[in-house]
């Protein structure tokens, strides 16, 4: 426990020190994007990772947040950094969209849910293209902040880092809470959960609202960082896939998994996109697809859980760390059982912990 806390503090210190050590805007740019995606992937995980409802439409919140902040800043003529005071309002808008989104989509499950999230996503993209107040296909530009180039990226980095830290903390709290337990019970067997008194709709909707509001706020930050949003960048189908891939690669459902996934994929694809020899960023998209295939086929549970298992196996030298109660039929589901023969009755002598 103490080691974990120490590690966490060290990581946070590293994250805080990063833009002080590397002041070059070209480098801090990586940091800003990484933190934005850590936030978005962790937020995705709070709802989808825990409940098993895979959303491919979180860009709805992200883009809406960007547009909402842009429209508010323009409409109310907000200048300078005070625009960030509007972020809670953006979060509220994200929450409102999540409620409507959820009331429509959460009545269906699994594949149907995924399809509906994609449909909702395209509805939002089309709205952004076609409404006049969204600026159509040319989108919105943000009012310029008066920050100098050097602290510009740093400032955004710390804002995004703040969001990332809070989101990860929220994810950890959810994970430990009774609410999180109910979400995971819904993931395993929703009908059974409702038969045990879990108010499933309310629980799912609450989780989606948390995810939606965080994603919308970070969308607002992103918009101000890059100064503009267009329908195809705010509501980007690849963005959705990236978020999901980050969570899957790192470890879907775990708290640290999406963070790790985001830290690997976002800087990686950003770097590939800026290399002139890999013209136009196609390579990073192909690579993303390949990583997706690799993750799904080779380690469907992601780096964190699979790595944890490997470490456990090394420590116990191949013997199971805990004696499994019985061998399960499905390898994919059996997790604690790392091999070993099952005693049918409770193990009396050989309960090697």
């Amino acid at each position: 426990m103490a080691i974990r806390v120490g590690l966490l503090i060290a990581l946070l210190a590293l994250a805080i020190a990063f833009p002080q050590v590397f002041t070059n805007p070209a480098v801090t740019n990586y940091g800003v994007f990484a933190m934005i995606f850590v936030t978005a992937a962790s937020a995705w995980n709070i709802f989808s990772g825990n409940s098993g409802y895979i959303s491919l439409g979180n860009a709805v919140f992200f883009g809406s947040g960007a547009y909402a902040l842009g429209l508010m800043a323009k409409g109310w003529n907000v200048q300078g950094a005070t625009v960030f005071d509007l972020l809670p309002l953006v979060g509220l808008i994200g929450a409102g969209i999540a409620v409507i989104f959820g009331l429509i989509a959460l009545h269906v499950r699994r594949h149907t849910f995924i399809v509906i999230t994609i449909a909702v996503f395209f509805i939002f993209q089309l709205m952004a293209f076609n409404f006049s107040f969204t600026g159509g296909s040319s989108g919105l530009n943000s009012p310029f902040l008066t920050w100098q180039p050097v602290p510009y990226n740093q400032n955004f980095y710390y804002i995004a880092l703040g969001f990332a830290a809070v989101t990860v903390a929220v994810a950890a709290l959810v994970r430990r809470s009774r609410f999180g337990l109910q979400l995971r019970a819904i993931r395993d067997d929703e009908d059974r959960a409702s038969g045990l008194g879990v108010k499933t709709m309310r629980v799912k909707l609450t989780a989606l609202v948390i995810t939606g509001s965080i994603t919308a706020m970070i969308g607002g930050v992103w918009f101000y960082y890059i100064n503009q949003v267009q329908p195809q960048t705010g509501f980007d189908p690849l963005w959705d896939l990236q978020i999901v891939l980050m969570a899957f690669l790192g470890g879907y459902g775990s708290v640290s998994g999406p963070v790790l996934g985001a830290l690997i994929i976002e800087p990686g694809s950003l770097w590939l996109n800026t290399q002139p020899q890999f013209s136009g960023g196609y390579l990073s998209e192909i690579l993303l697809g390949l990583i997706f295939l690799f993750v799904v086929l080779v380690m469907p549970r992601g780096i964190i859980p699979t790595g944890g298992e490997w470490i456990k196996r090394l420590r116990t030298r191949g013997r199971p760390a805990v004696v499994p109660a019985a061998v399960t039929e499905k390898v994919g589901v059996a997790v604690a059982a790392v091999g070993g023969t099952p005693p049918l009755q409770p193990p009396a002598k050989d309960g090697g912990q």
Partner: protein, 263 residues
Amino acid sequence: MTALLRTEGIKKAYGGVHALTGATISVDEGTIAGLIGPNGSGKTTLFNVITGYQRPDEGQVFFGDRVITSLAPEKVFAVGIGRTFQLTRIFPRLTVLENMLVAAQHNRSQRHTVRRRAMELLEFVGIHKHADLLAGSLSYGQRKLLELAYVLIADPRVILLDEPAGGVNPTLINLIADRIRELNSQGKTFLIVEHNMEFVMGLCSSVSVLESGSCVVSGPPEMIRTDKRVLDAYLGADFEDDEAGQQGPAASPGQEDPSDVTS
């Protein structure tokens, strides 16, 4: 004694298939009631209707004096009716202990009490050593026990068990029967669907027989065992031949024979 759980004239059809055609049963408080019937006679459908998983087309479900027809499953559970499923449904990727906590309605301050209670119940059914394992790694019989245990944690007044002895080895069947008896002596009411006749007859104080979606007979096990209509409808002609010597021709008084009993 008053009926704690009662259904009246429940009808439920799936398209042209009439699963329930006016099922009326009643379970007295503090008893262990059995519900038997051939495959497809509507036992599980009746369970689903009682616990809110399916809405009946007609008829009412009463819990005490309260009408609970068509309440959502979580509300039926909150009223005090817990159930298990024919094919056990546990949460495979939660630990055994976490499985227990899903059903426990508690807040932060009660956390420790609830945990202790969960461990007690796991000990009661004999799987406490596996508390930290993923429930998916339990054997089928252990899952049955876990399902029984986590229904108990919310302290329901009536527990509906759907084939608690199905696919379980004899030792475990005895353990399950013992636990049911013990809980019953503490005041819990049970309604049990089961195909294992020995289990039902040994445990239940009254048995209802469902056939083609309605209750044909109900009464104490001794009466059911010798009822001709039950033997015909449920146990089949073979049983009748084997047991012909012991069997009295008369059905229980006051109940009519179905019109055709040719076999």
